[in-house]
């Protein structure tokens, strides 16, 4: 019964990620797109953890950790490019 709740929560999070994708596509400037991608990355990390719980695959949680790290590095890198115009 509680596994069903986790599945429904993962589906709702996926729908909210698609809602956030609107701002990533339409956003007026680059900063809005970066904010939207950051939000989607946090949502996807939560989805991966819920998936690990209801499939009982414990190694997926490490995937969520690496996904969060890659999202953070992407955000910092793109922001630095946006600030300086080059990556150094």
């Amino acid at each position: 019964m509680i596994d069903t709740a986790f599945i429904i929560a993962a589906i709702i999070l996926a729908l909210l990620a698609f809602v956030s994708m609107y701002r990533a596509i339409k956003g007026p400037r680059a900063v809005d797109r970066i904010i939207a991608i950051n939000v989607i990355a946090t949502k996807v990390a939560a989805i991966i953890i819920l998936l690990a719980i209801f499939t009982k695959e414990e190694s997926f949680i490490d995937v969520a950790l690496i996904y969060a790290m890659i999202a953070f590095i992407t955000t910092i890198g793109v922001s630095k490019y946006l600030e300086k115009g080059r990556l150094e």
């Binding site: 701002r23 970066i34 950051n38 414990e58 955000t75």
Partner: protein, 100 residues
Amino acid sequence: MDIVKDILILIFLVSGLFFYFVGAVGLIRMPNAFTRMHATTKCDTLGAGLVFIAVMIHQGFSMVSLTVLIVLIFIWLTNPTAAHYLAKIEYHRLHDRERR
């Protein structure tokens, strides 16, 4: 005891989903980048915290729970840092354009 645990999990899960929903609505409806950051950063940090706490209650004291706690601490450290950096570059873009 089992039903108490299930109710506790449902409360944390539903409140986490509520904060995620508020963050997504703020991202769509707010007028400029600062207010969008204001909506999404707080709501995502709190939503991730509540959903992961629900998962940790479901798992009890185990290795899985510890790994989820590490992911949670990582998100709590990096999400405000990224938002702070984005706010800084947006502020400099708006307010001292002539220096660049």
